[in-house]
């Protein structure tokens, strides 16, 4: 049996039955990484050994996106500017994993500072999609999604600012959950856009997602934006039935540019859920067409400020130019940031600085925040009529490496269905629901009201139990490209 391709709950059963050990699980993962990661490039660094406490509740190793601080580990956001920076503290989610006895397997690759939808902007080179290595895995949590899909990880954490968990989950055929804003502590997550970021699980199935959420969710006094809402046992929401549930289909999401295969897969999912008792209605989210624009004002604005601390003063990279230009300190700032940031990071910092700069604040940032209100209201209104909203996760399946790298607007539009959940703060999950003719995974997205993650788990679990997509595994060849 390949332990590395098992789910966490399967491994827990095996451990309970004494059929395997944490050491065996760990070495099967290391072997998988050794065999496939030359091709996939999902990891930026791995633990040499992991030890789980003998009494650990859930001793299944987890992989962590490279923007979550692990004490004593290099934590770089896959950016040159943070290379060699050793984090002196643990993120709250890492503390929670440690107290559950979960060993850390490694840091996974990502778009630099989570700026991207393809994991191509990493300073460690692109991650490849395990289903087709000429394609991107999606992003920015592409390393986590690809590692889970490739059997190089049992389960993983990612972060989602505009779809960075759900879009790669859909592209790689895994389950990805962006929890309600405030559900999981952001303390220790290197901020991209503080009002949008959330940490969430990427797993092989819905049960694992619930298990991991049970561990990472909850209020944190170190995060002022963390909610004091009790955390339920999410595994109790794993009910194979949708009787009495009303699911909304937003008419605005069936836009031009959405592929026929994605559309068909979604229709298939709807009929599966209908058979299990769900009632479907049409809902309207009229401001959907403004979501991408709103996002590309608010997210870069916050990012431009969040990235100001990467200045060469204290940690990471410092470069002093040969020829003095302004003053020694300003030269140091400018050269460090010029050399340390990649092209997309620079684009976003420039864009964010521009929309906040004197004379433009009202036209861009303030207006963006007002439209954000309209987008939120759309969901509030829709949820008066339904329990959940079903949409495609992405308009298409995974695109080719390099295809959109030089066309930012087209890249940004690949997040068109996922961005609204971040702007509104609501929880949303991507669930595998089939494959394209060329064998690339397709996912659908379910959204629910704030703190109604249980609704997502129930619908996703029902779907999963009545289909078999989550059991599919890619057939990767060993070795390099």
């Amino acid at each position: 049996m390949n332990l590395n391709t098992c789910t966490a709950h399967e491994l827990l059963d095996l451990l309970k039955q004494g059929k395997t050990s944490v050491g065996e699980i760990f070495s099967s993962l290391l072997t998988a990484i050794k065999t496939f990661d030359g091709t996939v490039n999902a990891y930026v660094r791995t633990a040499r050994s992991t030890e789980a406490a003998p009494d650990a509740k859930v001793p299944i190793p987890v992989s962590i996106k490279d923007n979550i601080n692990i004490e004593g580990w290099e934590t770089t956001c896959s950016s040159k500017i943070l290379k060699n920076y050793i984090a002196p503290y643990d993120a709250t989610v890492i503390q929670k994993l440690r107290s559950a006895g979960i060993p850390i397997l490694g840091h996974t690759n990502m778009d630099e500072f989570a700026f991207g939808s393809s994991t191509e902007t990493s300073c460690y080179g692109p991650t490849r999609n395990p289903w087709d290595t000429s394609c991107v895995p999606g992003g920015s949590s592409g390393g986590s999604a690809a590692a889970v899909a490739a059997g190089e990880a049992i389960w993983a954490l990612g972060s989602d600012t505009g779809g960075s968990i759900r879009q790669p989950a859909a592209f790689c055929g895994v389950v990805g959950l962006k929890p309600t804003y405030g559900r999981v502590s952001r303390y220790g997550l290197i901020a991209f856009a503080s009002s949008l970021d959330q940490i969430g699980p990427l797993t092989k199935d819905v049960t694992d997602s619930a298990l991991l959420m049970n561990i990472i969710a909850g209020h944190d006094t170190m995060d002022s934006t963390s909610a004091e809402v009790p955390v339920p046992d999410y595994t109790r929401a794993l009910i194979n039935d949708c009787k009495g549930l009303t699911i909304g289909i937003p008419k605005e999401y069936f836009i031009e540019g959405i592929s026929t295969e994605v559309k068909e897969a979604l229709e298939g999912a709807i009929s599966v859920l209908k058979n299990k008792g769900a009632r479907f209605i049409e809902v309207s989210l009229p401001h959907t067409e403004y979501a991408v624009s709103t996002y590309y004002i608010i997210a870069p604005a916050e990012a431009s400020s969040n990235l100001a601390r990467f200045d060469g003063v204290r940690f990471g990279l410092r470069v002093q130019p040969q020829k003095p230009r302004k003053s020694a300190i300003v030269d140091m700032y400018e050269e460090t940031r010029d050399r340390g940031f990649g092209r997309e990071a620079k684009r976003r910092v420039m864009l964010g600085t521009y929309v906040l700069s004197s004379g433009y604040y009202d036209a861009y940032y303030l207006r963006g925040q007002k439209v954000r209100t309209l987008i939120r209201r759309d969901f509030d209104t829709a949820f008066e009529h339904c329990d959940a909203i079903l949409t495609p996760t992405t308009p298409t399946t995974a695109f080719k490496i390099g295809e959109k790298l030089n066309d930012p607007v087209s890249m940004y539009l690949s997040d068109i269905f996922t961005i609204s959940a971040n702007l509104s703060g609501i929880p949303a999950m991507s669930v595998p629901c089939g494959f394209s003719k060329s064998g690339l995974p397709i996912g659908f997205q379910i959204c629910a009201k704030p703190f109604a993650e249980e609704m997502l788990f129930r619908i996703a679990y029902t779907y999963e139990q009545n289909t078999g997509w989550h059991k599919e595994r890619p057939s990767l060849k060993a070795g390099g490209l």
Binding site: Y85, I86, P88, Y181, G182, S195, S224, T225, A227, H287, E289, Y290, V292, S293, T294, Y296, I297, A308, D311, G312, V313, R314, F315, R318, Q320, R325, S327, A328, I329, V330, D331, M332, Y333, E334, E335, R337, D338, F341, K346, R347, V349, M350, L351, T353, Y354, S357, Y364, R367, G368, K370, V371, T373, L374, R376, P408, V409, Y412, S424, G425, P450
Partner: protein, 95 residues
């Protein structure tokens, strides 16, 4: 739409010197994004309140009680350059 003067102003604010060859593509990229974003201008947002926080949280504080600080050694463990218990930077001349 984005002029070279704009770019210079913004890059100085953002403390990012752009190489000569970066200017044109950056101006093009930013212009195409701003062109796209311009669609927001057609929405009427009069009387709409801005959203800075999606959750209706308020009054989140902590008590005024001391928590242990890092030791000087740990605080400087990741320093690029250090001297005399402090982070060392190029000389700043004010007056």
């Amino acid at each position: 739409m984005i002029t070279n003067t704009d770019l210079q102003y913004i890059s100085a604010l953002a403390r990012m010197s752009l190489a000569e060859e970066e200017l044109k593509p950056m101006a093009e990229d930013l212009s195409s994004i701003l062109d796209y974003i311009a669609q927001l201008q057609k929405l009427d947002v009069t009387d709409i309140k801005p959203t800075s926080h999606v959750l209706p949280l308020k009054n989140v504080y902590r008590d005024d009680s001391i928590k242990p600080s890092l030791t000087q050694e740990k605080a400087l463990s990741f320093a690029i350059s250090k001297a005399k218990g402090a982070f060392k930077v190029p000389q700043i001349v004010d007056n």
